[in-house]
């Protein structure tokens, strides 16, 4: 709308920069990290940042920077799996509920309500308890948790769109209902889903770290930021660096996704008006 050029989409800009930075870090970590990520050298433990260890070392004497680099792999993996699961299942459920409506919608929505009223972290703990911890299971559990909110967004998108003239027009032309759902409506809901997806990505990182904080998230030897924070927590007062490094990284990553989502929203709103 009425924005001046200069400040336009700072969100998108900053968000993209942050995420690109971490993406680069991740790509580099596949080929190179300053130290072996899992090499334990107890004699080097709990060092403060130095030239040798830019971000210090952890209580096993492992290099924090290397571990942070490596853990971006985990972060992006978990986030991606969660978002894919959430988007695919959520869109399917929400789309069906929204397009068909009636009692099917009622039942599905009550179920979704129930899922949402259910404390997510508890459900995650339960799912992890059943299937075990580890990167895959954690991602699956969090993916399932993302389904309700995405389903809601998808549903409202489908409801909004199905009453619009272009859908009626497609019907009038004789297009099959399934095609209407997936070829006509979906592309118009996708911008909302895109935003929801990037929020879900941030949410996945948050939730993974919360699970890890409770000791139930991604497990060693896969390094994860939440798990690093969990380890570092007890050294907070003496070695704040130990906790701050992964904590700040995590916050920045999540910030990146939030800003990206807001930026996207601005772009999309902008295009609509």
């Amino acid at each position: 709308m009425n924005q001046t050029r200069k400040k336009k989409n700072m969100n998108l800009l900053i968000g993209t920069i942050i995420l690109l930075f971490f993406l680069c870090l991740m790509v580099i970590s596949f080929f190179y990290t300053p130290y072996d990520v899992s090499k334990i050298q107890v004699s080097d433990k709990l060092q403060s940042p130095s030239l040798a260890h830019w971000l210090g070392t952890d209580k096993f004497g492992r290099d924090t920077l290397s571990r942070i680099m490596k853990s971006t792999q985990t972060a992006f993996f978990v986030g991606a799996v969660v978002v894919v699961i959430g988007l695919v299942i959520g869109t399917l459920i929400g789309g069906i509920a929204g397009y068909i409506g009636g009692w099917i919608d009622d039942i599905i929505m009550r179920f979704i309500d129930a899922m949402m009223a259910f404390p997510g972290i508890i459900l995650a703990i339960m799912i992890v308890a059943v299937f075990g911890t580890g990167i895959i299971n954690t991602s699956l559990a969090l993916g399932i948790l993302t389904v309700p909110s995405i389903a809601r967004i998808a549903r409202s998108g489908f409801i909004q769109n199905k009453a619009l003239d272009y859908v009626v027009a497609a019907k009038a032309v004789g297009v099959h209902p399934m095609k209407i759902v997936f070829q006509e409506i979906l592309p118009n809901v996708y911008s909302q889903l895109l935003v929801a997806g990037s929020i879900a990505f941030a949410g996945a990182l948050l939730a993974e770290s919360a699970l890890s904080y409770l000791g139930l998230g991604v497990q060693p030897p896969d390094p994860s930021l939440g798990q690093m924070l969990n380890e570092a927590q007890e050294y907070l007062t003496d070695d704040p660096w130990y906790a701050l490094a992964p904590g700040v990284t995590l916050s920045l990553l999540i910030l990146g996704f939030y800003m990206l989502s807001n930026g996207l929203r601005e772009v999309l709103d902008h295009r609509l008006s």
Binding site: Y166, V168, A169, A170, A172, V173, G174, H176, E184
Partner: protein, 328 residues
């Protein structure tokens, strides 16, 4: 007038919507959007439907394609009752009946190029192969007066009038027999409106199209229609050939309607029939004649007895007790 072949006939169409009554009463209110509408459209003619907002024009139009399922009634298209068809068969039938909507931007999927939009009906009805389809789309663009460069562009890159041309082209793509045009020019500026009206007329001539033309603008309807039906609160109150209707309106509502249209002529001094009050709500329609609450000529009988649509002169039907005395 030459008796011509009937293309479409609507018999006693009704559409009642369930609306959640206040406080969620046990029986939801029935909103009688369309309450027993019958008319027929002959091949090659244009039937105009006018009426104020909410009187059920769009609902009627959409029911003809079963985009809204009628609550009751029949729709005979070339003798076949469309209401009896399965969804599948109905989808096939839609090739013959197409629709043009009021808001051209809303009725075009914003994420499809004009090319895709125009090709879609051809694909759905399995017409031609890829190259034939593309050829046809190009021809269509030309027909409605658009440049070939429009093919790859998106609807939002066009002006309102151009968009309406695209919508018309899409409706034309499958060579339909009937086009239901629901207020196709209401959203347009006067100068563009004229362009589109002319286009519609030219197309009708060129392809022997039949139109059901819905509008609330009496001037526009007069300009384009051969016959006109006037609706009020879900019913047709008068239906006649355009000339008859405009020159000799029978129903008090039609008379009032025509007389209140502002004329762009400062010297015009026709008498105005000012109606009092508002249109009643369709969910709580008055008893008897729906118009009696505003009718300057209302009689006792009008409050209780529902008038029927009857022929008062040749091909001039009106639903009013003034013309058909109520039998006691």
């Amino acid at each position: 007038m030459v008796e011509s072949e009937t293309l479409l006939e609507a018999r006693n169409l009704r559409k009642y919507f369930d609306v959640k009554g206040s406080g969620g009463r046990k029986h939801p209110n029935l909103l009688k959007a369309v309450d027993g509408v019958s008319f027929s459209v002959s091949k090659g003619e244009t039937l105009g439907i006018v009426g104020e907002s909410g009187c059920g024009k769009s609902t009627t139009g959409r029911m003809l394609l079963r985009l809204i399922e009628p609550t009751a009634g029949q729709i005979l298209f070339e003798g076949r009752d469309l209401t009896q068809l399965s969804q599948r068969e109905m989808r096939k039938q839609r090739r013959h009946i197409q629709m043009v909507f009021q808001n051209p931007l809303a009725s075009l999927n914003p994420r499809r190029t004009v090319g895709e939009l125009l090709e879609q009906p051809l694909k759905v009805h399995r017409m031609g192969n890829v190259s034939e389809r593309k050829q046809r789309v190009m021809a269509l663009l030309k027909t409605v007066g658009l440049n070939e460069t429009a093919y790859g562009r998106y609807p939002h890159q066009f002006s309102g009038g151009q968009r309406q041309r695209i919508a018309i082209a899409r409706a034309l793509a499958v060579t339909p027999k009937l086009i239901v045009a629901d207020e196709p020019v209401s959203a347009l500026d006067v100068s563009v409106q004229a362009q589109i009206l002319n286009l519609l007329k030219d197309l009708q001539e060129a392809y022997q199209l039949t139109y059901l033309f819905i509008s609330h603008d009496l001037g526009v309807v007069r300009h384009i229609s051969d016959r006109v039906a006037v609706m009020y609160l879900g019913r047709i109150v008068e239906i006649a050939s355009t000339e008859d209707l405009y020159n000799d309106p029978k129903h008090p509502y039609t008379q009032a309607l025509i007389s209140t249209v502002p004329i762009p002529d400062p010297e015009y001094s026709g008498e105005r029939v000012l109606l009092q009050g508002d249109i009643p709500s369709a969910s709580e329609p008055p008893s008897g004649c729906p118009f009696h609450t505003r009718c300057p000529l209302a009689m006792e009988a009008c409050k209780t007895v529902v008038p029927r649509l009857q022929e008062s002169e040749a091909d001039h039907f009106v639903s009013c007790h003034l013309y058909h005395k109520v039998e006691a």
